[in-house]
């Protein structure tokens, strides 16, 4: 192991940062360790923000993540890093203060993509949802009993917010340009079932629609105008247009980074613009883009909780000096709670050419969909059928033949329904 006088710095103070710092200590790194975060909070859990925090069941401040880090870690919170100078191995803040490092973990995650018109985006009643403060503000707005909540964008967070509004008894409209909710991730074949579920819960779903502009009165959002001329009166608009990676501070560092992430090699070290790894710097979590061995080395940047935790651990071990036997290759997994319905997935659906329903009936609201590409299983999605997912995840990890045979334990005599997945 390298001398323990080495200084380690973790930039970002989210889940990947926390698990990375813990892993460094667990792997025996005993030098000074500093965690720098832009937000004034210790690492907290984001998934509850769009669920129980919005429901008012838990306060936004109760989501601090459990950790086993001790007093031998220095926290510098509420102080974003503005620039990285790799030649002098120094981090710079906007106020001119600096922080030297010998080993660096980049874990700055993502932020919510803002509404494209900044003036409209600043109207009171218009929200995005990424952090604790966002969730607390949106919760207060929902608790005030708005006439209607407009959710723009039917990705996971948009669908969660719309379902939750219905649980709270609030009228909710969900506007999505694609043909179904979650179409980009799940395809329209499975997305249609999610859409039917949302509609069944009273969400006013406007697929194939786009918001053109947000109208304000006296600085307050009052209605949205769709491109087809429809108006939707509402007091709250939630912008759920996905995320942008926090990589601006890497501009000029010579690292290969853009709004899609910072590039890593298969081991987890970051790459410079020449494609050479920097052995002092690793990246993990939402901000990291890396070649995934399970998907032919395709570069992916994942925005999933388990990935942030696992890649954080991997990067921490790497920076502590551990030599990994093999590249980071964890099967991507996520979950989403839509009201009281749980959607989970294993693998990446991108590039799927078919989808098979192997378990349960899609119409019943509980099923497993397996995605195939060129005759191999590449992903599986469960809706309220989590117990069947691990077996399917193994098939995905093994690249088992598609359509899968003999998995439909609940209906051995019936054939498996195979459809076009319906990706845009």
């Amino acid at each position: 192991m390298a001398p323990s006088s080495d200084r380690a710095v973790v930039v970002g103070a989210g889940l990947a940062a926390l698990r990375g710092a813990e892993a460094m200590r667990e792997a025996g790194f005993s030098g000074p360790l500093t965690i720098v975060g832009a937000e004034p909070y210790r690492p907290y859990d984001r998934p509850p923000l769009s669920k129980h925090v919005l429901a008012g069941e838990i306060p936004a401040g109760a989501t601090t993540l459990p950790s086993n880090l001790g007093a031998d870690v220095e926290w510098q919170l509420g102080s974003p890093i503005a620039r990285l100078d790799r030649t002098s191995r120094t981090l710079h803040r906007a106020d001119g203060s600096t922080l030297p490092y010998d080993r660096l973990l980049i874990a700055t995650g993502t932020r919510a993509r803002p509404w494209p018109n900044p003036h409209e985006g600043r109207l009171s009643g218009v929200f995005t949802l990424r952090g604790r403060d966002d969730a607390a503000a949106l919760r207060a707005a929902l608790a005030a009993g708005p006439r209607r909540v407009l959710v723009i964008g039917a990705g996971f967070i948009g669908c969660e917010v719309a379902s939750l509004c219905r649980q709270l008894g609030l009228p909710a409209t969900l506007v999505e340009p694609g043909p179904t909710p979650l179409g980009r991730v799940l395809g329209s074949a499975v997305g249609a079932f999610i859409g039917a579920m949302l509609t069944g819960r009273g969400v006013d779903l406007r697929s194939g629609s786009e918001v053109e502009w947000l109208e304000g009165e006296g600085g307050r959002f009052v209605r949205a105008h769709l491109t087809d001329g429809t108006r939707i009166d509402a007091d709250v608009a939630v912008i759920a247009l996905g995320a942008v990676r926090n990589t601006e501070w890497l501009d000029g560092s010579g690292l290969s980074a853009d709004p899609g992430g910072v590039d890593c090699d298969a081991t987890g070290f970051v790459l410079d613009t020449e494609g050479q790894p920097d052995p002092c710097i690793a990246a993990a979590g939402d901000v990291a883009r890396f070649p995934h061995p399970l998907y032919g080395g395709r570069r992916v940047a994942l925005e999933h909780w388990s990935h942030a935790a696992m890649q954080g651990i991997h990067a921490g071990q790497l920076l502590a000096g551990a030599k990994p036997e093999s590249p980071y290759a964890a099967l991507p997994t996520f979950w989403s709670t839509q009201g009281d319905v749980v959607v989970k997935s294993a693998g990446l659906t991108e590039g799927a050419d078919a989808v098979a329903f192997t378990q349960g009936e899609p119409g019943s609201g509980r099923f497993i969909a397996v995605y195939g590409r060129a005759g191999r299983c590449i992903a599986a999605v469960s809706v309220d059928s989590a117990r069947w997912l691990p077996a399917h995840a193994e098939m995905v990890a093994a690249g088992a033949p598609f359509p899968p045979q003999g998995t439909a334990a609940d209906r051995p005599s019936k054939g498996i329904m195979v459809l076009a997945p319906g990706f845009p």
Binding site: E57, A62, G339, V341
Partner: protein
Amino acid sequence: MSVPADASSGSPPGLRVSVDLNLCQAYAQCCYAAPRHFRIEGHEALIYDPAPAAQDRAEIERARVACPVQAIRVEDPGRGT
């Protein structure tokens, strides 16, 4: 759920709990062990209290140990982790 609306009162430092909901299979053992802090909604949506009070540590520890897939993580500042 028994979370105080404002956790900044002078009470002893509470626990911190997180559940890896990818691992969780809704077996509900945690709900039997600590019903005030874990519950299942619908078929398999686990809802948990991320900040239980320090005096509930025995219950929370029972839940953590009961989980068949070890999805529950607890930090107890009053006792180390």
